[in-house]
């Protein structure tokens, strides 16, 4: 890899995130591991959205749906494994994270395919609003469907397992999430540089151009949207395991808004934009929440300033304009 300024900053960001939980452990403040895990998972969710939004220019205001679906996959599989009741067609639940991850990726990817198939017929504001509407549909369904706790949500009493390690240790669980995040970032980087990524980014920049060379923008976007949904769904499954709890609030439109906020804070379409954004957001939330009850006001103010005056987000400030091949 070429050592550009952006690559250097990315490396420092990744190293800092990795250092936090080790330092926290050494200082006897394990809570900061939890905070770092939260950053990693939110960054993963936003990396998923970044595929659709950053590369494809698809402003999905409904990615909370996939985040929540991933969470519910984890919750429901764990609940069935705990109770021993079969789930579907005689299949049982599972407490194994990797099983849960695969199911979460498949289910949220398929739902993404279905939602995308209809939503991508529209564009612009209509796309923003129809994705929001689909997420609201899932949200209300989750609230009123009694089988898995409705609005009360679903507790995962013991964190799901990963072969060979104790996931209840905050540091261990952090490392699992960190590795998954790095894998997702690699996937993002690969896709961005690939033929598919070229077509997806070209469709963002100029839809007519893509069609004129004989590529159907709809198919490219739909594929991108489904992959994006699958990655965000995976993050949802990890988030459920972090909190040992899932509830419809993971599906709420505020969550969709927050995911977009993470990307913008960090820098749209940038590889490490979601990580930078998630780190900033969680630190803001944590620091401001400790300072004042009015933290949401100041969070709004900071966001507004970033949108109005710091358009490239944190990475835009630090690393300059994004470069494309």
């Amino acid at each position: 890899m070429i050592l550009t300024r952006e690559n250097l900053i990315n490396f420092i960001l990744a190293a800092m995130l990795l250092a936090v939980p080790f330092a926290a452990n050494a200082l006897g403040q394990p809570f900061y591991s939890t905070l770092a895990t939260r950053i990693a998972i939110l960054a993963l969710a936003a990396t998923g959205l970044n595929l659709a939004l950053g590369l494809g220019g698809l402003v999905s205001f409904g990615h909370a749906a996939f985040f929540g679906i991933g969470g519910y996959v984890a919750g429901i599989l764990a609940a069935h494994a705990f109770s021993g009741d079969p789930l579907l067609f005689g299949l049982s639940g599972s407490k194994q994270m990797w099983v849960i991850w695969i199911v979460a990726v498949i289910v949220s990817g398929l739902v993404g395919l279905a939602i995308g198939a209809i939503s991508l017929r529209t564009s612009g504001v209509y796309f923003i609003m129809i994705t929001l509407a689909f997420a609201q549909m899932v949200y209300y369904f989750a609230i009123s469907w009694p089988a898995y706790g409705g609005e009360d949500g679903l507790s995962i009493l013991v964190r799901n397992q990963f072969p060979g390690v104790n996931t209840m240790r905050p540091l261990t669980f952090f490392l699992i999430c960190y590795v998954v995040l790095l894998l997702a970032l690699s996937l993002f980087a690969l896709i961005r540089a690939s033929r598919f990524g070229t077509a997806l980014q070209a469709a963002r920049q100029n839809e007519v151009r893509v069609a004129t060379v004989g590529i159907q923008p709809y198919r490219i976007r739909l594929t991108g949207f489904a992959i994006s949904a699958a990655v965000t769904g995976l993050a949802g499954a990890l988030f459920a395991d972090l909190n040992r709890f899932v509830s419809p609030s993971m599906l709420s439109w505020h969550m969709s808004g927050e995911l977009i906020v993470l990307i913008i804070l960090g820098g749209t379409g940038r590889l490490f934009g979601p990580l930078a954004g998630a780190a900033l957001y969680v630190i803001f939330e944590f620091a401001l929440g400790g300072l004042t009850e009015r933290w949401q006001f100041f969070l709004g103010l900071i966001l507004l300033v970033v949108v109005l005056f710091a358009r490239g987000g944190l990475l835009g400030l630090l690393a300059g304009k994004a470069k494309h091949g």
């Binding site: 612009g124 129809i130 549909m137 369904f141 009694p146 006001f297 507004l304 109005l308």
Partner: protein
């Protein structure tokens, strides 16, 4: 189920539709003229309701409160436009969504800062209290009829404003061609501020009218904001006519769904089950309707010139 009940429910749907129209009209107007997607519209609705409740409590008059709600929302709208919104016209929808999302956070927490966390008291004015008899032997609240009337007046007023006045002419010009209107020598910045304040005033008016019937509290604008977006997306963003028809469609669909779905399901399952599943289905119904409409007509029922 009697015919009278069905008629009453239809009237309820109409009235809910009118409430949504009051909200959606401003939203769609702002989008139509400036191409701006304003999530903070719900906050202006809240500002109107709080202004009305506060002034009504000081003066003892709902009507003075109602005027105050128009003034406060218009003023808040104008200030927001001058300070924030005008920097967003040239931005993409993503930036607009984000900036106005940030405004929601600030408005909600700021309102709590000023007014505290408890809901405010705002009652229906004595003139409009109580219910009147309808044909068929049922009664209907006067205030709800007044809301239908107010919605009809606003719809007609907007029609006159846009088709018959100089401001309306400029709005139409702005909708069809933004450069053109600048070339005509109209001060476009002032026009945008005026249109935004007008949209805000409509939202504030809706907030005050509805606040008297519901609950004046922080966050009251959010559910209605999302519904208003569903309305304008169904109707075709930028189209006032679309907003009106979309609002009525959503109002009637939602009311009838809540009313009929559990009854239909009760034919097949136990009543308690029917209530729950029917309730769940009813809350998803308008989103399903929206998805179907957009799948068939991706730019809504009445697509505006640009979107």
């Amino acid at each position: 189920m009697t015919l009278a009940l069905a008629l009453e429910q239809l009237l309820n749907g109409l009235q809910l539709g009118v409430m949504l129209f009051l909200m959606a009209a401003g939203l769609t107007l702002i989008f139509g003229v400036m191409g701006l997607i304003n999530l903070a519209h719900g906050s202006l609705y809240m500002v109107g309701a709080f202004a009305c409740a506060t002034v009504a409590a000081w003066t003892g008059s709902f009507w003075i409160g109602l005027i105050a709600s128009l003034a406060a929302a218009a003023a808040a709208g104008a200030i927001v436009e001058l300070v924030v919104i005008r920097r967003l016209y040239d931005r993409d929808h993503l930036d607009q969504v984000l900036a106005t999302f940030a405004l929601i956070l600030m408005f909600s927490e700021g309102t709590r800062w000023l007014f505290g966390s408890f809901p405010l008291y705002l009652d229906i004015p004595p003139l409009l209290q109580g219910a009147v008899a309808l044909p068929g032997g049922t009664e209907y609240p006067v205030y709800r009829l007044a809301i239908i009337l107010a919605g009809a007046i606003v719809a007609f007023g907007l029609y006159l404003l846009i088709s018959r006045t100089r401001l309306g002419m400029r709005i139409r010009a702005g909708e069809s061609d933004r450069e053109m209107i600048g070339a005509l020598g109209v001060d476009i910045r002032t026009l945008y501020t005026v249109v935004f304040a007008l949209g805000a005033a409509l939202a504030g008016f809706a907030g005050a009218m509805v606040g008297a019937l519901q609950s004046v509290q922080v966050g009251m604008g959010e559910p209605v904001l999302i519904l208003a977006f569903v309305v304008i997306v169904i109707g075709g963003i930028g189209s006032i006519k679309g907003a009106l028809l979309g609002a009525l469609l959503v109002g009637v669909t939602d009311t009838m769904g809540r009313f009929l779905l559990p009854k239909i399901l009760a034919l097949f399952v136990a009543p308690a089950q029917a209530g729950m599943i029917g309730g769940a289905a009813a809350s998803m119904l308008i989103y399903i309707v929206m998805a179907v409409i957009l799948a068939v007509k991706p730019r809504g029922l009445f697509p505006a010139a640009h979107a």
